[in-house]
């Protein structure tokens, strides 16, 4: 992870790939839970949530390559709102709540990465909790990989599964884990 001080001093310098990634992971991902809440509240077509999220991430990262926004929270939610408005027009659906002021959501206060400043034990609890929420088959392969440190082939042998099946379970577990970890707010899990 790069030193934040450096960014502040040369704000105009374009960021490298690794810097955008670090910024995205540090400042944008912790907003996912509240961003999804915002989408749920303002956009009624649930099937489109993941695509909207992806589109919002792409837009903010695109901007960050040129210049990382100083107030990430406000920037992410303004981007979300603008996207909902243009999408609403295109789909002939008017998301009326989306026009409401971002400030009304009480998310303007900018504390970069505050949600992520967790002590190690709390983080361990969260990750454990996320793994527990996985469907049993996925949970099993994750535990074998992470706790027992087994390779894909060893897991396949242990469980009597094809290697391709193990690979598939692991990949599915990864996407599920991302959902659980980023959707969970400090208070506890939802969804």
């Amino acid at each position: 992870m790069t030193d934040t001080k450096d960014h502040r001093e040369n704000l105009q310098a374009p960021l490298t790939e690794a810097e955008v990634e670090a910024w995205f992971v540090r400042e944008v991902l912790p907003l996912e839970a509240i961003l999804m809440q915002y989408l749920r509240h303002n956009w009624r077509d649930a099937s489109g949530f993941e695509d909207l999220r992806q589109e919002i991430y792409m837009r903010v990262c695109e901007a960050a390559y040129k210049n990382p926004p100083e107030r990430t929270r406000a920037f992410v939610f303004t981007t979300a709102r603008n996207l909902l408005i243009t999408r609403g027009k295109r789909a002939h659906v008017v998301p009326i709540d989306a026009v409401a002021d971002v400030d009304m959501l009480g998310i303007a206060a900018d504390e970069p990465g505050a949600d992520r400043k967790l002590i190690a034990r709390e983080e361990l609890r969260r990750v454990k909790n996320a793994v527990e929420q996985l469907p049993p088959r996925y949970r099993e392969v994750v535990l074998l990989r992470r706790i027992e440190g087994l390779s894909r082939r060893e897991i396949a042998q242990r469980l009597g599964l094809a290697e391709a099946t193990v690979a598939e379970y692991l990949a599915n577990a990864m996407t599920s884990l991302a959902r659980i970890l980023y959707r969970e707010t400090a208070g506890g899990a939802h969804e």
Partner: protein
């Protein structure tokens, strides 16, 4: 703007990014694989964003490796989802339905009490057993007196029932030739001109026809919805989101989700003396979404005007929307 985007759905990209991550952990991961991954990442910002997100989540699970050696770290646990739908309807209100009670829209006729709401009305009736019935616009219910078995008739309109369950004395809602028997429940019943709809929100209820014309009773679970018309009975599953929109009147708002203008107008017209009229069928088929106060016809018409570029004119008691 520089890159083509949105050709592929987010979950599909996520699946590919996860497959890369999984392979990267394999022992046979080599230079060629590394180059192929880099090429895939370079292809699109969508790929990078998805990969970064999953990589971060996956790397966080490394922490659980500290549990290595600890016995069985994972315990089965019921998720919050199940807790949400658990039993236990806590209604503390006890108000006696007796001759002394004066309720705005209530009157007694011996064996039963009648409650009603006018156009645009919204009232909550609390029964002596702790159950509660919320009446939407233009609705009439009758409640059998305490001595009788618990029975409520929905004669007209729409009502949301939160029943205090008593296995020995189940409560029955009678409506249009059908019977809904509570098995510990919250549910919504709506009558329109030619159809009856029952949506189950929490708990369970049995739905059956009074004269046995429907082949067998059905037990409804949360999210189940039954629609009965002259042509018969059909079932559908409603998403939590759709259910929430259906119940939005309880918050005195109307929520639309890909609703045609014709249907939105019909909804508004259930609540207001002033009526929305959609002038032609092309306009009537346009879709709208959003949340409005139930008496917010003017707001709604304004939005149609500015966002959909439709014409709005007021003629007497009617707001006419046209091209």
């Amino acid at each position: 703007m520089s890159e083509p985007r949105r050709e592929i759905a987010a979950d599909e990209i996520d699946a590919r990014a996860a497959a890369w991550l999984e392979r990267r952990d394999c022992e046979d991961w080599g230079e060629a694989d590394r180059a192929a991954l880099d090429a895939w990442l370079a292809q699109s910002l969508a790929h990078r964003v998805s990969y970064w997100r999953l990589k971060d989540a996956w790397s966080r699970t490394e922490r659980i490796s500290v549990l290595r050696g600890a016995a069985a770290p994972v315990r089965e646990k019921r998720s919050a989802f199940f807790k949400m739908f658990g039993r236990g309807v806590a209604i503390v209100c006890t108000m006696l339905v007796s001759g002394a009670l004066i309720y705005k829209y209530a009157y007694s006729s011996g064996d039963e009490w009648t409650y009603s709401t006018p156009l645009g009305g919204h009232e909550t009736v609390r029964l002596s057993d702790g159950s509660q019935v919320e009446l939407n616009t233009d609705t009439v219910i009758r409640v059998a007196n305490e001595a009788s078995p618990r029975k409520i008739w929905l004669d007209k309109g729409e009502a949301y029932f939160q029943i205090k369950h008593d296995a020995g004395r189940p409560l029955t809602v009678m409506t249009r030739g059908y019977r809904i028997v509570d098995l510990g429940t919250k549910f919504l019943v709506r009558q329109d001109d030619d159809r009856l709809e029952v949506s189950l929100v929490e708990g369970r209820a049995r739905f059956e026809s009074v004269n046995g014309s429907q082949s067998r009773p059905s037990v409804l679970k949360p999210g189940d919805s039954v629609i009965a018309t002259a042509n018969g009975v059909s079932f559908k599953k409603e998403s939590a989101l759709a259910l929430d929109a259906t119940l939005s009147w309880r918050r005195d708002v109307l929520a639309f989700d890909h609703t045609t203008l014709a249907d939105a107008a019909r909804e508004f017209n259930r609540y207001n003396r002033e009526k929305l009229v959609i002038a032609d069928s092309a306009v009537a088929a346009r879709m709208v979404g959003g949340t409005f106060p139930k008496n917010g016809l003017a707001d709604f018409a304004d939005v149609m005007k500015s966002m959909l570029k439709l014409r709005v004119s007021k003629i007497g008691d009617e707001i006419v929307i046209s091209r």
